[in-house]
Symmetry: C2
Subunit: 273 residues, 2 copies
Amino acid sequence: VDAPGGPILVFGCGLIGGSAALRWGAARHEVWGYDRRDLQPFVERGGIARQVPIEALPDAAVVVLAASVGRIIAALRELPFRSGQLVTDVGSVKAPVMAAAAALPTGVSFVGGHPMAGSDESGHESAKADLFDGATWALVGAEEPVACVASLVAELGAVPLSCDAAEHDRVVALTSHLPQLLATALAAELEARGEPLSRDLMGQRVRSFLGLAGSSFEAMWRDVLTHNGEEVERALADVVARADQPVEGLAEEFALARRFAAGLPRPLRTPRT
Amino acid sequence: VDAPGGPILVFGCGLIGGSAALRWGAARHEVWGYDRRDLQPFVERGGIARQVPIEALPDAAVVVLAASVGRIIAALRELPFRSGQLVTDVGSVKAPVMAAAAALPTGVSFVGGHPMAGSDESGHESAKADLFDGATWALVGAEEPVACVASLVAELGAVPLSCDAAEHDRVVALTSHLPQLLATALAAELEARGEPLSRDLMGQRVRSFLGLAGSSFEAMWRDVLTHNGEEVERALADVVARADQPVEGLAEEFALARRFAAGLPRPLRTPRT
């Protein structure tokens, strides 16, 4: 299934939106950008064909909401989408986004999306055409529009994966939101203790994991942790209960954990710190 | 300061000992291996000059104890080290190892060591000559023997770092032991929940972090978590207290965490999953 022909409007040209714009542009889509910031430098870099005011929204064939979960929900409620448009988003929580999208006018097709890629960098300056190479891109919605968005995200190098909103939010609470919270809490404790050797006495994988802690609370995580708070709280309690045991009790946790780790695919490339 | 001339005996030719042996051998040291396993395949690969019985111990100039912390402590108590030998280890906890080493005969020089490198693989089959490239190698002991061991580990590509045993154990509780425990608990919870999409809905850094969960409880972590249990328990409680807060309270944790992350060096290469 092909995506509708016509311009793709990327609403929010930060790291995620900007990276998608760069790659779609290279694939000869006409890509427009909307952002509160001046996108002229990004136009000059070839990231988008032009920066448009919000009044241009009805002229886009596809609209990609690439902002925080809170701004995505606000956009779904407030922007004048028109019948025939395909609208998608990149928010890290799907159930509240799908609920907001349910109120869209008849004829607007909405697909919830979530690329499992990112970086602690932000802004179109850090956008990279290869950001999504090999990354899973979760898609939630009806079969036909999901197939359209799948073909678009496949052009970004991502691997589309259809799933249910509640399932998505439950799983990413453990695979993404809790890891972010733990990386943040660990890095905060290290910063607070201020031990001079703490950045040196560290292996490569933990260093890369703690790089997650560079990610922004205001731009991203406040909304994610608010909108998926219950699942994250449950995930934290479940994981802490497994960790907080006498040493001998941990034998079973290590055995379970090894089974999970054995099924992990090898990483495709170096994580960015 | 140069290390004493003469054979290096690697006591325990697993991933760590085997990787060091490979690289020292390539640097034209005479390297002997001791292991309960038959090391003939490792001799044939050029990893060591020969496998020796424990009776050969006094003939070595340098002895590297590359085993679990429990076996290192037992070896320090039981093996017939001789005056003039330089002995070091690779255990992940240093205070109990230094305490055991304090009872060594006069004239035996001991330096506690801990390379911040590893993998979920084990055995000499997984040994790699470049395992330590760029990795910090903590060293604990008196200035002169530390300088000798520093020159040896620098030949492995590692970056020697002198520190105090208690300081080391406090820091690695947060930078290594707790991350291992959290990766294990998270992977165990994911395995227990058995959600079909949990390996797909995951970014590269978390995937690499969860690769830690492939590491062995029996061969390594039981001893580490037993011997550094108090520090790890404190680290877990401190980190959980920071994570387990209402969302608004997390703003400050994210701010602290970003300051820590900003000072992290970039990783040198792809972490192994």
